[in-house]
Subunit: 224 residues, 2 copies
Amino acid sequence: MSTDPLPADRVPMTALPQARQSHARREEVLAAAAECFMRRGYEATSMDDVADALGATKGRVYHHFPSKPDLFFEVYRRAMEILMQGAAPAMADAGTAERRLFGLAKAHTLAMMESQTFQRSLTLGVDLYRFGSPSDEHKVVLEDLMRLRFTYEDLFRKVFAEGQADGSLKVPDPSLAMRTILGALNWVAVWYSPRPGEDRPHRDKLAEQIVETVLGGYLAPRSG
Amino acid sequence: MSTDPLPADRVPMTALPQARQSHARREEVLAAAAECFMRRGYEATSMDDVADALGATKGRVYHHFPSKPDLFFEVYRRAMEILMQGAAPAMADAGTAERRLFGLAKAHTLAMMESQTFQRSLTLGVDLYRFGSPSDEHKVVLEDLMRLRFTYEDLFRKVFAEGQADGSLKVPDPSLAMRTILGALNWVAVWYSPRPGEDRPHRDKLAEQIVETVLGGYLAPRSG
């Protein structure tokens, strides 16, 4: 069974080191699984593959996650958590919708770079939802995960609607705008690979270049 | 062994119907394989899956393609052929680079809709190239396929450079422009599913809306 560490104020001090250790090991399993799913796809990845990638026994993987679907769902959920957390400060910007869109898009791009293996699970999850044959129990979970995704996408729709209202954005169709902008940025998780020695300031700069390119479009301003 | 039909002028008339039949059957195998690869990924798809999807024997699949990699490579090659053929008329447009970019992007978007299962193989191919462990022989083929992709991407880079020269496009970095625009459009193959009764005029219109959204960007024109 998976055991997230309890909040620190509910855990006796003597128990903390073990809970932390367990949490760290669970995180290692998750990261290895995300990498395996990215490389081989959902169907072809086995719990053995994840154990091999960790250099651990299959027992260690099962200790934290009862099944491959549970492991995959947690990778997907984590990817969505990273996106939602990145979006929160951007959504809190009290300026124009354009500023919020820039912040949302930049946080999304950084997530594609910095949690690439997790983010690649999002497409796999959609394919699993559309084409897989999950058990009834897993179907319910997948539907929850799709709702998480819609909730996140709705942030973009909301900002586009606000941008129409405050005049800072030019959006004939907020849904199409959301899909195309997310496509351009999601694709970063397909082509991006970090350069040797790359650090956060480099990624920040690259993310801003990408977002400026996408938001600004590709056409020269019309004269007249 | 795979047998493409010979050019008509080299085939005795009596042999044509059989060659055509063989060609049609080979196309069915390819289409079934593209669908399987999209649904389950490269690694998890077996020749048995392709045969099952066809309602045929595995022997029929092997009759046309000697191995799974050969079958996958042909799906990928076909996807690239469709893109290159779609790009040709757009590249021949003698107007501004903006017109050529619009034509390229629209043809690309239509390909994502109309040959979706084939186009989804492009990401699988890149992952196979980056993460797979192909034989030496297959590695050579994969490198050829990556070159096909670069050749296609170069069309976009070329048009962006021309657009800087003729003033119709606004492109600080042609490579980043190519990657972001293709990302936005490639994503169509992830989210698109045809509506009942949808025909070419509908797809044409949707493709134009997508391309106008992407090329024009999301920001309202600055006043002053």
